[in-house]
Every structure is written in C-alpha cells, then in structure tokens.
C-alpha cells in the first residue's frame, strides 16, 4: 500500500507542479493580454462554451444527488466546493463528497472495503480493482458506456484492451473500469519536452564554472564540487547543498536511487520492488553485484564522501526539500517537475533557472504517453445509486468542455481564443493557480486554486487533442505558450545543445529508449508475498541509506554483503519470482506494442 500513497502524492505533485511551472513560467509575460481580467464577465455561469447537452438520454436531474468518491488521487477530503463544485451543481445537480486515503490514511480502503461498500465513484489502483471485482464490489459498465457520447469513442482502443487483460477476474471481457489519465497519442509516442527523470542543473552556476562537458557521473561530481566551491551560499546566506535526498516516497527500494537508475537505462516497474528492467527486456535483481541500483548507491556514497550530499537527507521530509528547491539551495535535480519550484519567466530572461544538462555516457529509459492509462482506474461501486448519472458525469469529464474546465479553467477568465482559433492563457490565467486569484462571484467565488477539481484525476488526460484547436489540452504545449516562453534561458540552452527541447536532444543523439506504456493486470500479491515484500523493502531501504552514509568503502561493501544474505532469509526468492513473472509480462506486452506499431 505504501507505493500507492507515494504514487498518489507523486502524480498529485506532478500535476500541481506542472501547472505551477506553466503559470510561473508565464507570470512575467503580460505584453499582449491586457483585457484578460475584464473579459472574464462574458461567459454565463455554468453555460458550456460548446454545447454538450446533459439533458439527453432522459436522465432526471431534478433531485439533488451526492456522490461518494473514494479517491486514491485526491489530496483533499470533504465536499467539492468553489467554482468546480458550483459548476457540477448547476449542470448536473450533483455534489461530490470525496474520501481521500492520502488524507485519512491507508486503512480507509481496508475498513471500507471490508464493510462491502467503498463508495459510488471509485478512483483506485489496478491492484485494488483486482481484489474488488471478485468481491462483487464493482459495477459492470459494459452497457452503460455504450450510450455515452464521448467515452464510447475510446472503448475499442483504450478501455477494452485494458479490461480484457484482467483475464482471471474478468473472463467475459466486461468493462469494469476506465483507466485514468489516458492519452490519445499512441502507445509508443512520448510527447513531453523533458523526460520524467534526467540530470538538471542551474544554468547560470553551470556556466559560471565554464560549462564543462559531462562525460560521466564522475564529471558530474566534479562539476557539482566546483559549483559548490564557487557558490557556497545563496544570496540570502543559506548554504547550498549540491544533492539533497528524502525518504518520504521510499517504497520497495530507495526512491532517489530508483530514478537515477533510469539515467542508465534501468527502471523499476510499478508493482515490483526487487528488480530493475531495461528497454531490451533484461531483468536484473537490485541486489545483484552489477545492478544499476548498486552503481547509483555507489555514486551517492562517493558524492557524500566529497561532501556533496545534504547531511540532513535522512531526517528531512519532502516539505523541507521543496523549501530548499524554492530557495535554489539544491544543485542537482532529477524529476522534470522539480524545475517549477524556481524557474520563472522573469528569471529565465536573466538566464537564471534549472535546465537539463545531459551526461554523455547516460542512456535514459522513458515510458511513453499513458495511452492505456497510468495505473489507476475510474470505476463505479456496485451499490451506487443512480449509476446513469455518475456515468453521465464521467462522460462529461471526458468531453472537450469537461477537459477544458479541468485542465485550464474558464474561457475568458483563464484563457481566451486567439484570432487563429487557438487558445492562449490570459494574464490572470498565467498566475491564477499560483496566486489563488479570486474567481468572480458569478462562477462561484472563492480562490481559483481552492475551487479547482479536488478529484485530482481524469479519465482522458491533457495529452488528448482538443478537436477545436487541434492542440493538446495541456496549456504548456499550446503554440501561444511556447511562444511566450522564449526567454534568454531557453534560447541559450537551445543554441548550446542545438535542439528545441531536451527530449529532442536525447532522441537525436540516441541517448534515450522510449518504451511503450503498459498498464495492465499484474496480479495482486498473496498475503504471504505481501508480508515478505514489506519486510524486504524495509530492509533494503534502511540499508541503502546506511550505505550512502557509510564511514568508508569497507563498511559500504560489508553492508551490501549483509543485505544480500539477509534478504534471502526474509524470503527474497519468493518475491523475486513474483516480480520476475510480472516483468516478463511487461516485456512481452511491450514487444507486442512495438510489433503492432
């Protein structure tokens, strides 16, 4: 279960910071949208900008309906209020009551599922779905979805393949669940400008030490050392820590080690904890002497010996780290969304900000767009009242109108139409999330951010093309946004690396493997394996931390040797066998996806 929390936090964070990134990146750009604030009054409250009639199908909206949403993705528990709440109330006479295990704790799932009724609308993990279908707690949506206007379009390519893969629980091939954050590009495309994990450094400091070419991790450490020597403190006197680590999201292994392994082609698929997998399909146990996991541990250990690792790493939490990121106290970043804590357009114009700095011998592994979803699903509880109305709501959420509201807010307030028929963020829209701008009363009042959808998940993602503008719903990728984002920082970077985006650079230089997105039933652990997995994970995490902060190489090696023998005692072989089977399935499905391309 711990991985679920982590996943939840991560995707929530990812979304939050992605929005933050866009808004901060644009906050300085006010040149040509003076009318942003005043244009807000033009649209009627709750009136769709494009007609999608919720009244069709003879559904009666006269009675108010409260839907209990059991939501693994939500960071908020309680009633959906604010402008999104008002929108749903006006349109569908529906109120959302959100239950969030991330807020209330993991046991919420256990207690509610034990009682036999999880909720009306469920946003849950694949593995939970596998437990709940046989328990008879999930409604069969096969017939309901046929009558939908928008969702029915995605059944054959997206929903059906996903549901059919749950052979054991779903022998008849019914549609029980709709995968979350489904993209409409292709199973092998990667649309983002920066891989999820890659080396990221502050551009001005890096240039300050002469922008040395980074051939390998040793060069990276030297560069970090030089930067630290030249810039020991922030302008307001806070010490700069080249590498900072945190333990909050550690799941099966140490999360900070897991993601750096991606730089050298090895990922740890979700649902597994004991293995790493590369694009060729090699499966390596993380306790193998030659595993990438060990190599990255060694890197952190060496870095710590050079004084590059933040001494507070083991005792601090993510909140503390994000504070340091906001203060530009950290030199090495590795998640794409971490840039958003510091980068702004204003700073970008002065060439100040965090950018990708490729390491020559690295070879990234990156999952493609979530064509089949991201590991969570939307489902309806078998005891839900008025499932037609819930389905209607889900259908609307996946309509152009619903997607625009979810990702970008209101036309006229957050964004406006350009003469070319595209969208462009208004001045208010650029900072509405960040500054929690007050929303006009006609839309429901309150702060913009407070009123956003607390569901924090969607069925179709923002990497779906809006039929009206032919651009993604994700405003980062609007032509107007890209144009506005041309700062000294980006142009300087583009000139240096002769590429428009880091993703393009990595692809051009053959430094990245994009593996097809796989989202399927991997089977849930038996309680025996669950138990062993939990104990092994605990042991691996603790030892990893100790190894990074070991006294000397001898202690490092000794801890590693003990780790290898102790995990065997904790039942390593059984857990590994399960993970290997899962990895084999992933490898096979990836091969199929490439073959069908």
């Amino acid at each position: 279960m711990r991985t679920h929390i982590k996943l939840g936090r991560k995707s929530a964070l990812l979304l939050g910071t992605a929005i933050l990134l866009v808004t901060t990146a644009l906050s300085g750009c006010s040149g040509n949208s003076n009318n942003g604030g005043t244009a807000a009054g033009t649209a009627e409250p709750g009136t769709p900008t494009e007609s999608s009639d919720p009244g069709t199908g003879g559904i009666d909206h006269s009675k108010p309906l409260t839907i209990t949403v059991f939501n693994n993705a939500a960071n908020y528990q309680g009633e959906q209020t604010g402008w999104y709440g008002k929108l749903l109330k006006d349109k569908f006479n529906i109120t959302l009551n959100i239950l969030a295990p991330q807020v209330a704790g993991d046991q919420l799932y256990k207690t509610r599922s034990a009682s036999g009724d999880l909720g009306d609308l469920l946003i849950i993990e694949n593995s939970q779905l596998e437990e709940l279908i046989p328990a008879g707690m999930i409604m069969d949506l096969t017939d309901l979805i046929k009558n939908t206007e928008h969702l029915s379009k995605y059944v054959d390519n997206h929903f059906k393949p996903f549901n059919v893969a749950f052979e054991k629980q779903n022998p008849d091939g019914k549609i029980y669940a709709l995968p979350a954050f489904t993209a409409d590009t292709s199973p092998t495309t990667f649309s983002e400008e920066l891989p999820y994990s890659s080396p990221i450094l502050p551009w001005d400091y890096y240039k300050g030490i002469g922008a040395p070419k980074l051939n390998n991790l040793n060069d990276l450490m030297t560069a970090l050392k030089d930067m630290q020597a030249k810039y020991p403190k922030t302008p307001d006197g806070k010490p700069i820590v080249p590498i900072t680590l945190w333990k909050d999201w550690d799941g099966g292994s140490m999360e900070n080690v897991r993601w750096l392994s991606n730089w050298y082609g090895y990922e740890q698929p979700n649902g597994t904890t004991t293995i790493q997998l590369n694009a060729k399909g090699d499966i390596v146990p993380i306790v193998d002497d030659n595993s990438m996991y060990k190599k990255i541990l060694q890197f952190y250990y060496d870095a710590n010996k050079m004084g590059l690792v933040d001494p507070d790493s083991p005792s601090q939490d993510w909140t503390k780290v994000s504070e340091k990121l906001t203060n530009k106290q950290v030199l090495l970043l590795w998640y794409s969304w971490q840039r958003g804590f510091y980068n702004t357009i204003e700073r970008g114009n002065q060439g100040d900000g965090n950018v990708a700095v490729p390491i020559a011998d690295s070879h990234l592994i990156q999952n493609s767009d979530a064509y089949f979803g991201n590991g969570r699903v939307f489902a309806i509880g078998s005891k839900a009242k008025e499932p037609e109305r819930i389905m209607e709501l889900m259908d609307w959420m996946s309509s152009p109108e619903g997607l625009r509201y979810y990702t970008n807010g209101f036309e006229g307030f957050n964004y406006e139409k350009t003469p070319e028929g595209k969208f462009k963020l208004t001045e208010v829209g650029q900072t509405a999330f960040q500054e929690n701008t007050p929303v006009p009363d006609e839309y429901g009042g309150g702060g913009y951010q407070d009123g956003q959808s607390k569901v924090n998940s969607m069925i179709m993602s923002d990497f779906v093309v809006d039929p009206e503008t032919k651009e993604f719903y994700n405003s980062t990728y609007w032509a107007s946004t890209i144009e506005a984002n041309k700062t000294a920082l980006t142009t300087d970077w583009q000139k240096t690396y002769d590429a428009t985006t880091p993703t393009e650079y990595y692809q051009k230089n053959n430094m990245i493997d994009i593996v097809p997105n796989i989202n399927t039933s991997l089977g849930s652990d038996s309680s025996d394996v669950k138990n062993k997995r939990s104990q092994i994970s605990d042991y691996v995490k603790n030892t990893s931390w100790k190894m990074i902060f070991a006294k000397d190489q001898a202690q490092f090696d000794q801890l590693w040797t003990k780790l290898k023998s102790d995990v065997t005692g904790l039942g390593w072989d059984d857990v590994f066998a399960v993970d290997k089977e899962r990895a084999d399935k992933i490898v096979k499905m990836r091969a199929d996806a490439i073959a069908n391309k």
Binding site: M1, P314, K530, D538, N542, G569
Partner: protein
C-alpha cells in the same frame, strides 16, 4: 417473606451495575472475537467467511528464520529498554509534583504548571518539527556549536543511533511531565492538614516534612500508577517513534507497536498484526500478575 425482599433488593442492586457490565462486554470482551483473524489468511475485500483457515501460520512466520528472530528480539529489546527507562524514572512526576506544591508564590507555581503541562497537548508531528529545527545540521544547536567554535562540522543528532532510548525517554518525559504530575498534585492536596501541623509542632524542617509526611502519603497513588504503567509495558505507542525513525536509528528505536504498524499497514496483512497483538496481550497479563504478586509480597496488598 423476608428472604424474598432480600432477593428483590439484591436484584435491584444488580440492575445498578448491569449497564456497566454490558459496556464492558461490548467494548472489552466482544473485541476479543477479532483474534480469530490471526488464524485466517485475511485480506479486506474478501470476507472472513471466504478466507482460508491457516492455523498458526502467521505465528510461525514471525519466527520462521534467524533474520526474523533477530529482528523480533531486537524489537522486544527496544520495547523493554524504552519502557524500562520509563518505569525506572516513573518517580520523576511525583517528585516534580511535590516540589511544585512547595512553591508558595501561587502565580509562579501556576505558570510552571501550565508551561510543563502544555507540551502534552502538542502532537508528536509538531514535536518532531521542533526537534528538526533545533537539531538539524542547519538548526539552532548546530548554529550555536559552530558560532562558539565547539565543532566545525554539524553534529547529526537526529541520525545518530547512540543513546536513542535515552533521547526518546527524554522527549517523552519533556512532553508528559506536567500532565502526569496532576494526579500527584491532587493526592498531595488530599493529605490531612493535621499531619503537617503535627510535624511542624515537632520541629520538622521542610525536607523532613516531605520525607516523613508527603512521601509516605503518596506511596499508594504511586504504586497504583506504577502498576498501570507496567500493565501497559508493551504499549509504548508508535506515534513518537514513527516520526523520529529513520534508517540510522530504526534498529534501536523500533518498538513493538511500531513494528506491528510497519508490518501490517506498511504492506502486509492484518492477520500478522493480530497475531502479534495477541502475543502482546499475553505478555502484558503475565507482567501485570507478576507485579501484583510482587506488590503483595512487599507491601502486603495488591490491586488484583
């Protein structure tokens, strides 16, 4: 006639306590039914009736190999160590209460009492953030050490595995001292004034009054509380250790409650945690009876 009235009278008396017996049955005995979960392979959405019966599998899994046995022994050692320290210093709140009531300036006394009681109401999460801001590498204490030239490199207090039991005891004491003193203060207020007067007439000093009047009058309270503390010897909670744990101190900090939590909620099963808590109850009962026996032996009276 007569015997009938006695009978109806005793029935009425039984009625007086029956609501409490019902409560007891519902909240103390009915939950014991939950122990049955330890013998099944139970995962929540599947009802117990459909879960396979596995006998003593989970009990066995706790000790199925040397690594797990070592881990469990270490956990028990930690639990005994930390609880033992607590019991060793269980007289502290009493002494504190005695000295507090000796303060004659009422305002000052109230002030001290408030200040020492307040931490009891702060959550451990907040206590940890306080600890972090004081003892992290950029924290106050390291700042002071650096400023005075006492140390060059920051001392990593929170990541050290040395003296963990002692520091944990210290935090717990800091948090609960004033709160636990309340009962003793009440007991002191209940001491017969005439005892004091007699002592003063006999020319006793303040310390002598404390030694010969106050302390003996406090003993019954102390022993009752001690016994309660021993009964919950194994329940030293998990919140405190949960927030303070990290890779470096976990080995010496993980107590039974935290172990159960990490095992059950961290990813494992209900059944194992039920198995451990059954063992816990068993040990607690044994401990309680042995202390009660000891008390009978030493003081001639026990509570059970």
């Amino acid at each position: 006639m007569r015997s009938q009235s006695i009978r109806s009278n005793s029935f009425r008396k039984f009625l007086y306590i029956s609501p409490f017996m019902v409560l007891l049955a519902v909240f103390s005995y009915y939950p014991l039914y939950g122990w049955v979960y330890a013998f099944f392979d139970y995962t929540p959405p599947i009802p117990l009736s459909q879960s396979p019966f596995v006998g003593f599998k989970w009990f066995h899994s706790l000790v199925e190999n040397q690594v797990k046995i070592d881990q469990l022994l270490q956990v028990i050692k930690n639990t005994f160590g930390i609880s033992g320290l607590g019991i060793l210093f269980s007289w502290l709140p009493m002494i504190f209460a005695i000295f507090l009531t000796e303060i004659k300036a009422v305002r000052f006394r109230k002030f001290i009492q408030t200040v020492t009681t307040l931490p009891n109401f702060i959550s451990w999460v907040l206590v940890y953030s306080l600890a972090f801001s004081m003892f992290s590498s950029e924290g106050m204490v390291n700042g002071f050490l650096h400023m005075t030239g006492l140390s060059d490199s920051p001392v990593l207090f929170l990541q050290s595995s040395d003296h963990v039991w002692l520091t944990m005891w210290f935090w717990a004491t800091w948090k609960t001292l004033g709160w636990s003193a309340i009962l003793y203060i009440a007991a002191i207020m209940g001491i017969d004034e005439s005892l004091y007067e007699a002592a003063y007439v006999d020319g006793a000093t303040r310390m002598q009054v404390i030694r010969h009047v106050v302390l003996p009058s406090m003993m019954p309270t102390y022993f009752v509380l001690l016994m309660l503390q021993i009964a919950s010897f194994l329940n030293n909670g998990l919140e405190q250790y949960f927030v303070f744990q990290n890779a470096f101190n976990k080995d010496t900090m993980q107590v039974l409650d935290l172990y159960v939590y990490n095992l059950a909620m961290g990813g494992g099963s209900y059944s194992v945690s039920v198995a451990i808590s059954m063992l816990k109850s068993l040990i607690s009962v044994v401990l309680l009876f042995s202390v009660n026996g000891l008390s009978k032996l030493l003081r001639g009276e026990g509570i059970v």
